[in-house]
């Protein structure tokens, strides 16, 4: 009922184009994150859905209704702002009830909703305090409470946890997930923190410079990044990239050489790669998949700049001899040390491949990963509804 469909949404400020044709289809009850670096247009997109921006073009539907030109108040949405935006001169109870009272809601209905929301968020004993008298986490709860009492079809949250300290952020993250489970309402959540996005969402919209870079489940983004931007943005430490050229191609794969590679590397692809001989490509490989090995097996060689020992694992920062940097994650007890010359093998089955435009060339996944991704796709708090929609 409260699915959202956004089509070709465009928005600029003066000569600055911020959103450049956004298309999105969000299912009812889904928890979706807008993820992207600062300034990529996440807030602007969220505010456009909220009706706080004048659009340059495109349309937004919520459920059955076209809400593109509807005033915010009529959209059946609630929004939680990054700085909470609590009314500083009103106590918590008034903060929660203010909007309801002015919409002519009955006293006892308001009381019921406020009491209910306060219980859910465990702020009952704070109802008579002013926002100033609350800690960051408590203010955050009040801000969410103000959204809950509206009983909206759609929740919009703009970096709601970014002003909290690290420990509290984890706690609130868990609470938000529980809240979503409980309310079973569509939520859109803006963040620049990939851990938040990966842990909270059913699906993630990765935004890059005002465009949707990829829209998929967290695991899909991680294991099947659609392009260089997503590959580099998701995962920590970030994916390594190595330049290479296509030496040879056939039905089922490519042979790569040159660029930074000391030895040829054969890769299989799902379909004949739409790419010719001598074309430049980019290899992507996650730091934990690189192997430090003997010279005769190695594809790359370099010098260790820094070893960060984290206990269970060590991050090895390497300057490649052909130019460029790599990060390898090895087991915590690996004896590698700074300034050492190391040899690195790239296991071809774990490579990501990108063409000259940065678009991913699809590669087969191992059975286990494939199963996991499929399982996650069918999941979601409202599995049956999702299936219905896909059918």
């Amino acid at each position: 009922m409260a699915a959202i469909r956004i089509e070709n949404l465009c928005k600029g400020f003066g000569s600055l184009e911020v959103l450049k044709g956004i298309d999105l289809d969000i299912a009812d009850g889904e928890f979706v994150c807008f993820l992207g670096p600062s300034g990529c247009g996440k807030s602007t997109l969220l505010r456009s859905i909220a009706g706080l921006e004048n659009l340059d073009g495109g349309s937004i539907r919520l459920g059955e209704r076209d809400i593109t030109d509807l005033p915010s108040a009529k959209r059946d949405i609630a929004m939680v702002f990054q700085n909470y935006a609590l009314y500083p001169h009103m106590n918590v109870r008034k903060n929660l009830s203010f909007g309801l009272a002015l919409n002519g809601m009955k006293r006892d209905e308001i009381d019921r909703r406020v009491t209910n929301a306060a219980e859910v968020l465990r702020i009952t004993e704070l109802l008579n305090r002013k926002p100033r008298q609350l800690s960051g986490g408590q203010r955050q709860r009040v801000a969410i409470g103000r959204a809950i009492v509206r009983e909206p079809k759609l929740f919009l949250l703009d970096e709601p946890l970014s002003n909290l300290d690290a420990g509290l952020r984890v706690t609130m993250r868990v609470e938000l997930a529980a809240l979503h489970e409980r309310l079973a309402v569509t939520m859109i959540y803006v963040t620049h923190d990939q851990v938040e996005a990966m842990t909270l969402s059913d699906r993630v919209v990765v935004l890059d410079k005002g465009k949707v870079s990829q829209f998929g489940t967290p695991l899909e983004l991680f294991y099947r990044p659609a392009n260089l931007f997503v590959a580099g943005f998701i995962g920590s430490p970030r994916m390594n990239f190595v330049n290479a050229n296509v030496a040879d191609e056939c039905e089922t794969g490519l042979r790569l050489a040159g660029g930074g590679l000391a030895r040829e590397l054969s890769l299989d692809t799902l379909s004949p790669a739409p790419i010719g001989r001598d074309c430049p490509v980019t290899l992507g490989i996650r730091p934990n998949k690189l192997e430090l090995t003997s010279p005769d097996e190695a594809h790359l060689a370099g010098n260790v700049r820094l070893v960060e020992r984290l206990g269970t694992e060590s991050h090895v920062h390497i300057s490649l001899e052909g130019g460029g940097d790599l990060t390898a994650v090895v087991r915590g007890t690996h004896p590698v040390s700074t300034r050492e010359r190391v040899h690195i093998r790239i296991p071809s089955e774990h490579c990501h491949l990108f063409d000259a435009d940065g678009k991913a060339i699809e590669r087969p996944l191992d059975a286990e990963t494939r199963a996991l991704i499929n399982q996650e796709e069918g999941r979601g708090p409202r599995g049956p509804v999702l299936e219905e929609r896909h059918a």
């Binding site: 909220a50 609630a78 100033r132």
Partner: protein, 318 residues
């Protein structure tokens, strides 16, 4: 052992000196202002208080008369009451107009995006013009035969009155001329408006709070401290009204604009009765102080000050 003891002794002494230095330093930094305040404000203030208990001619014998100046002012001087009444009348009209008009101008400027810098300057400009220049301009505007105001009125077929010559109109003329300088008040309120986070309005808009309610329940309370501040400064400046009346109407016609400040001024520099003038100043001071306190007490109930709950904050943390 002894050595160690001595060591802690000097350590303690050093800490003490450092602490003294730390506490004195801020006062050294503000000392120019403190000295100025002592010599040019507090000193003359106390001096004038002393004066008010004396018969104090500019030349000649000074004699201590106790509360005689005050007594004769209250009981034997109809001009005292007359001037006080004129001033109260003036304040009662000028203060609300000053604040309401400044508030609406500030609101307009806040929402205007086109050439807002120009308008801001234009509205503030009169406040930086010196009193004499301002009065010159206004005496030209109000002039019966050649004035701009009556010329404009004649364009719409009205035979303009003698603004500065009519005892009922002269005070209106002075109120209008005073309101011309509301740019300062407006600027303070504009700053206050700009300091209200726009998310408060957005949150309200999303929850369907209509514009009038946003004004009433968000803008006004958030602007409260600024409104009270401008309210009090307006009262003070109303009671000090002197320049315009002195230069534009000289207190006339028929004493209808003989403001309290002018009455004090004349006692001092026309009748050279310094003690009596000082007593008048102190009466005015007490009235303004009392009014300010009343306003502050009255506003404490409904004005929200950002820092007000500090103490409760501390309690919670304790």
């Amino acid at each position: 052992m002894d050595m160690a003891y001595a060591g802690t002794q000097t350590g303690a002494a050093r800490r003490k000196r450092a602490s003294v230095r730390r506490h004195i330093a801020p006062y050294l930094f503000i000392s120019p202002w403190i000295l100025g305040f002592l010599f040019f404000t507090l000193g003359p203030l106390l001096f004038s208080l002393t004066m008010s208990f004396f018969d104090w001619p500019v030349v000649g014998e000074r004699t201590f008369v106790g509360l005689d100046n005050y007594r004769s002012m209250f009981t034997e001087d109809p001009q005292f009451w007359e001037s006080l009444w004129i001033t109260v009348k003036f304040a009662a009209i000028y203060v609300p107009f000053n604040i309401v008009m400044s508030f609406f101008l500030a609101l307009m400027l806040h929402h205007v995006t086109f050439a807002s810098g120009f308008f801001r300057t234009a509205f503030y400009l009169p406040s930086v013009i010196s009193g004499v220049a301002l009065v010159t301009i206004w005496s030209w505007i109000y002039s019966r035969e050649y004035g701009l105001l009556n010329f404009m009125l004649s364009l719409v077929g009205i035979d303009g009155p003698n603004w500065l010559g009519d005892p009922n109109l002269a005070i209106v003329a002075i109120i209008i001329a005073s309101l011309w300088g509301l740019g300062g008040t407006m600027l303070i309120l504009l700053t206050g408006l700009k300091a209200i986070p726009k998310e408060l309005y957005e949150a309200a808009t999303i929850s369907g709070v209509p514009g009038w309610a946003q004004m009433l329940f968000i803008t006004l309370p958030m602007l409260g401290p600024m409104l009270i501040f401008t309210f009090i400064t307006s009262i003070i400046s109303a009671f000090q009204q002197l320049t315009i009346a002195l230069l534009l109407t000289k207190g006339g016609p028929l004493g209808s604009t003989y403001f309290f400040a002018m009455y004090v001024y004349d006692n001092a520099f026309k009748y050279f009765d310094m003690g009596y003038a000082a007593a008048g100043s102190w009466v005015m001071f007490v009235i303004v102080l009392a009014l300010s306190l009343v306003v502050m007490r009255w506003s404490a109930a409904w004005v929200y000050y950002e820092g007000e709950i500090r103490q409760a904050d501390g309690e919670r943390n304790a």
